[in-house]
């Protein structure tokens, strides 16, 4: 009774919770081989070029954390990976990918390249929501310049690096949490475009969440 019935499939029995199979040993070996391959690949350096023209080097496995870069490399269909290193830098054509942002992104993926892949079963909303950022991530994302911070997150979003977007989003979440809308506006320098009447109406509508004894 783990709620594994889906409304959308007629054969609702989910496969999760399957027993460990007899070829668990093979799985383990395969996993190790994959791990070694990732390690080898990360020694190959590829170049990424920011929108402003700055070129930054980063490990291949690390760079592949960006789904966009990974897809691009796949499209090259290059069998000899070492040749990728000699190619010209991959251009990232989005104005959020500034030199500073790309430098930080490369720093992040180089630190996180050997993270275990995201467990698809790890879907408990509570755990996901409450999972604290690691100390390293916290220091990494604690950037005073708001424009730079948004550039990094927007660039990570453009490059499709889920982990980094998550880190950025959580960081902003933590900043927003527990603040009144006036404080949020002040912090993020947002212009209030509501008329006082409109604002009062929304407040009234949501009044019950502020209710206290």
């Amino acid at each position: 009774m783990n709620g594994e019935y889906s409304l959308d499939t007629t054969e609702g029995m989910a496969a999760s919770g399957d027993p460990p199979t007899n070829n668990a040993v093979d799985d383990y070996d395969a996993e190790e081989a994959l791990e070694r391959q990732r390690e080898e690949e990360n020694k190959i350096k590829i170049k990424l070029k920011s929108f402003e023209g700055g070129v930054y080097e980063c490990g291949l496995t690390a760079a592949k954390m960006s789904v966009m870069v990974a897809n691009m490399l796949d499209a090259l269909q290059e069998t000899d990976l070492t040749k990728i290193a000699t190619r010209e830098p991959i251009p990232l054509q989005n104005d959020a990918v500034t030199n500073k942002a790309l430098e930080k992104i490369v720093e992040w993926v180089d630190h996180h390249w050997d993270d275990p892949p995201i467990d698809p079963d790890f879907d408990d909303e509570k755990e996901r929501r409450n999972e604290e950022l690691s100390h390293w991530d916290k220091q990494f994302i604690d950037i005073a310049d708001q424009g730079e911070l948004f550039d990094i997150i927007a660039a990570a979003n453009f490059m499709d690096i889920k982990g980094l977007v998550e880190v950025g989003a959580k960081h902003i979440c933590n900043k927003i949490k527990g603040k009144s809308c006036t404080e949020v506006r002040e912090m993020l320098k947002i212009h209030n475009d509501f008329t006082p009447e409109e604002e009062a109406a929304i407040h009234k509508e949501n009044e019950w969440i502020y209710a206290k004894d």
């Binding site: 709620g3 019935y5 993020l188």
Partner: protein
């Protein structure tokens, strides 16, 4: 206004012709009568309002707005409105100001490209004597110092963009904002709505994507039921209500407000243990959701919730498409006529859960006769019920209809005598979950228990089996803490485990029962069949057996039955102190030597070869 002329005459000559034309047009407009002017105006309007005939044309029109950075996508409508108000005098004034050669504010740029081919040296009015005379232009001045010339020029303004795309340049893009909102709790999103209009829009857009909402009161994750039919958390909004809300306002008005925010709601899951909201909740829900609601779960800690026939009918009529219906409370009193009304009017039902997990007041419970499930849809996949509903009589009635799609059966306060009928007629069951409760179950002997397990093992399609003696250990009392087995139920022995080993598809065995170390070793053999199993709690000596058998990988933190980490620590502490006492016997078993354990091992090995 642009003129482009290609010709072999001298550029000067051509320039004169342009000026002559401009002068002529000015006079033409001046002399135009009102009727002609009106005709011109109307045809211009007609042309501007003409619908693009090709996609290409339309695309050009839109792109020109983007490349000019004016983003005035309603240009035609706005300008046509202005054209309608124009007078002839306006046109003449415009002409005199911007186009006429005599205007002081006229700006004109002439670019002449002279071909390498020989130029026609003739004057044009020599070639054609009827040409209009060109106006006399002032002498040109040659600019010697371009920089100096430029410093004296004013700026030429560009029209301000209609859509201010640069306004929020430094803020968070919408996609990202949506991700951020998805990580905030519901209350924070609501307060973020008042930050600015864009935030309000993004949050509302997010709410539109929500198809499931869970309304919960506390972090009490360990309690009982998981929701049915929820797999996809990305479209789910979790709303936690704190207790003070119910004190201040009625739950109904809050629920109405919440539900109104989610126009595409398909699944509503309400689990409120802390808020004792009684049956009001049922009525509220029966009036507040969208009609095509497909899944409704209400699990509350209210005591003595009584659902009348009329209320059940109201619920069923309001939501005819329900596929998942889960109702649970403490002492849920629902009359048979109300069950009838629900089942009659909900033909699409796939999951029907009507349970009263901690039923302590069975004496006052309504009485059901054998036909209680006569309207149960044969498409039912999951049936969750209690022992006082699922009696042998009801089963006798049910076997007359085919329930080939029944995959899961969960029964609280199960009467183990029913098992024979279930095993015989409901072979499609894959998950079987049985809770036995001392408050209700009649006593049974070890032999009867063995017979029960024998019948369970006849379930050929069963993959998951859970057997839970509620309150069997003092750290796992039921929720009132008063469940007492007297006399104690029989042990779950190695023999029973071997019987379960006969189930060809069994993958997961979850047992909360008294087990000896022998039983645990029997389960160990189940691993070779690929069993995944979670032992909830067994006796201390059994845990010792687990910890001594090296290849057991038991997660002592898998304690869904309400044991906290502190208690686990205590148990582990107990183990350490027991190990000394038991090490002799267990050591024998652990090494496969010794009398009794050895025999058991052999027996099981024999059985195993037969599979």
């Amino acid at each position: 206004m642009t003129f482009i002329i290609e010709s072999d005459y001298k550029p000067n000559e051509l320039n004169e012709r342009i000026e002559a034309f401009i002068q002529w047009s000015q006079k033409y407009i001046h002399d135009m009568n009102d009727t002609d002017f009106e005709t011109q105006r109307q045809s211009l309007i007609a042309r501007r309002l003409e619908k693009p005939k090709q996609l290409l044309e339309y695309s050009h029109r839109l792109w020109s707005e983007i490349s000019s950075k004016e983003y005035d996508f309603n240009r035609d409508e706005i300008e046509v409105k202005a054209i309608k108000e124009l007078t002839k005098q306006d046109i003449i004034a415009f002409f005199e100001r911007h186009l006429s050669h005599s205007s002081a504010t006229r700006k004109k740029l002439t670019v002449s490209i002279i071909s390498e081919n020989p130029i026609n040296e003739k004057h044009l009015n020599e070639v054609n004597a009827e040409l209009m005379p060109a106006p006399k232009l002032p002498e040109s001045i040659r600019i010697e110092n371009i920089t100096q010339f430029k410093t004296h020029l004013g700026f030429y303004s560009v029209r301000k963009p209609v859509v201010d795309v640069y306004a929020n340049d430094t803020t968070i893009i919408d996609d990202l904002l949506a991700i951020i909102f998805s990580k905030l709790n519901f209350g924070s999103v609501l307060s973020a709505q008042t930050v600015c209009k864009r935030w309000l829009d993004v949050s509302k857009e997010g709410f539109r994507k929500v198809t499931s909402i869970w309304i919960k009161d506390s972090d009490n994750y360990q309690t009982v039921c998981e929701p049915y039919g929820f797999n996809d958390l990305s479209n789910t909004c979790v709303i936690r209500l704190s207790q003070y809300i119910s004190n201040r306002q009625t739950f109904r008005s809050i629920l109405t407000k919440i539900v109104a925010m989610f126009p595409n709601l398909k699944r509503l899951y309400v689990r409120l243990f802390e808020l004792y909201i009684s049956k009001d909740i049922f009525l509220s829900i029966a009036q507040s959701c969208v009609r095509d609601l497909q899944s409704l779960s209400i699990i509350c800690g209210a005591n003595n919730v009584y659902i009348s026939e009329a209320e059940a009918l109201l619920l069923a009529i309001r939501y005819p498409n329900i596929r998942v219906l889960q109702l649970q409370s403490n002492n849920l009193f629902i009359e048979q006529s109300a069950i009838d009304k629900l089942l009659q009017n909900l033909p699409k039902l796939e999951v029907f859960a009507l349970n009263d997990t901690f039923c302590h007041n069975m004496a006052n419970s309504p009485v059901y006769d054998g036909t209680v499930y006569r309207h149960l849809s044969t498409g039912i996949k999951v049936l969750i019920t209690t022992g006082n509903i699922l009696t042998p009589d009801v089963l006798q009635d049910m076997v007359r209809r085919p329930y080939h799609r029944l995959r899961e059966l969960m029964v609280h306060q199960f009467d183990i005598k029913c098992m024979a009928l279930i095993a015989r007629h409901f072979q499609s069951i894959e998950w079987l979950i049985i809770h036995l409760d001392p408050d209700w179950c009649s006593d049974f002997t070890a032999q009867e228990f063995n017979q029960f397990i024998r019948e369970v093992s006849a379930m050929r399609n069963m993959t998951h089996f859970t057997l839970n003696f509620i309150g069997i250990f003092d750290w796992d009392l039921d929720y009132n803490g008063d469940a007492v087995w007297d006399p104690l139920p029989p042990d779950f022995t190695a023999n029973e485990i071997q019987l379960l080993g006969l189930c060809p598809k069994l993958k997961k065995l979850e047992v909360t029962a008294r087990m000896s170390a022998d039983s645990m070793f029997a389960i160990k053999l189940g691993f070779s069949k690929g069993w995944w199993w979670g032992v909830k709690w067994c006796s201390v000596s059994t845990i010792c057996a687990i910890s001594l058998a090296q290849d057991f990988d038991v997660d002592t933190h898998d304690h869904g039955s309400g044991v906290d980490d502190h208690q686990v620590d205590n148990i582990i502490g107990d183990i350490t102190s027991y190990v000394g006492d038991l090490s002799h016997g267990l050591g024998d078993i652990g090494h496969g030597g010794g009398g009794h354990g050895d025999e058991d091992d052999e027996d099981i090995d024999d059985n195993h070869e037969n599979y």
